[in-house]
Amino acid sequence: MYVIVAGGGKVGYYLTKALHGAGQEVTIIEKARRRFDLLQEEFGDAALLGDACEVTTLDQAGAARADLVAAVTGDDEDNLVICQMAKRKFNVKRVIARINNPKNEVTFQLLGIDETVSSTKLIYSLIEQEVEVADVIPLTALRRGHLELVEVALPEDSPAVNRRVRDLALPHNCMLAIVVRGETAESVHGDTVLRRGDIVVAITPSASVQQFRAALLGRGAPTA
């Protein structure tokens, strides 16, 4: 596999090092001379001095035969342009963009760049999980974040305990999928009676998480 890494900052450096170590062919592009010298010292000919946003630089890097371009500079707009150029001018099959502002994830998708990685968002979601321990735990986002797969453990004071699922005031489009009791998991239906200590796995619209929490835990947002 031939990979082009655009941006020789810390992310680009360690990514190149890891790919190199895994025996992949890599070129790393860096536009700042001083930083480039450092990269050349480490990676030799695999380092290329130039602006990855420019067609000529991508051409020199051999973008036409690249299997993957990863744009990992510190500027979202640069990463967007690098990915678009790689995709549209050189027909690179797979492009990955690092984004710094999580809001740009949606924008990148709108502009044709589907694979984005945001460290801000990753760290935030980890913190979010930590904060909501013993509460509603987000497992994964579905349908680009419109739906969420969540998990909740029912405490003694839960208003849902000893009630049938069909009698709960669940938000619209919310579905309880699985209940985990001890070592066993059962699928949930309308007649399932929930018990204390049950772990419920559910799918809920992201906008209705508060309502879901109220139905199963009897409280609103978690207290910090």
Binding site: T56, D59, D76, M85
Partner: protein, 158 residues
């Protein structure tokens, strides 16, 4: 009409003053408050402090009801990204991005973003003045292939 301008440098500020003087509604965005001084005291448009790839800032400038958008910051990629957001998401009818790098300008023109490359335009105008040739059309000045020599060969193509 309502026009949103991104970047209050010399070009952006001059454009803002021109349009305002013609009676158009103008909102101009820049990340540096100092740059608005270029507009002079008489400027009747709106000034917004912020970054143009941030949609909250664009909305503050009235992008949802804008008839035109011009991206004139000194960053080619900022201009490209904001122009695309405005065109694709907000469907503003007339969108133009100033792009210094002629090849990038050409690439995005192919992708449907109207671009103006001051590099080719400026150099071409100077050449025609110096050599005593008549002025040409903007399209001719901005045609990369006729103006620039072939790009260097692909070192790593094999």
């Amino acid at each position: 009409m309502h026009v949103v301008i991104l970047g209050c440098g010399r070009v952006g500020a001059t454009l803002a003053m021109m349009l305002a003087a013609e009676g158009h509604s103008v909102a101009i965005i820049d990340r540096d408050r100092e740059s608005f001084r270029r507009l002079g005291r008489g400027f009747r448009g709106k000034t917004i402090l912020g970054i143009g790839i941030d949609e909250d800032v664009l909305r503050k400038a009235g992008i949802e009801r804008a008839d035109g958008f011009a991206a004139t910051t000194n960053g080619d990629n900022t201009n490209i990204m904001s122009a695309q957001i405005v065109k694709v998401k907000y469907k503003v009818p007339r969108v133009i991005a100033r792009i210094y790098d002629p090849l990038r300008a050409e690439a995005y023109k192919e992708l449907g973003i109207d671009t103006i490359s001051p590099t080719l335009l400026g150099a071409g105008l100077c050449r025609d003045f110096l050599t005593g040739r008549p002025w040409r059309s903007i399209e001719e000045y901005q045609a990369v292939r006729e103006t620039l020599p072939r790009s260097p060969g692909s070192e790593r193509s094999r």
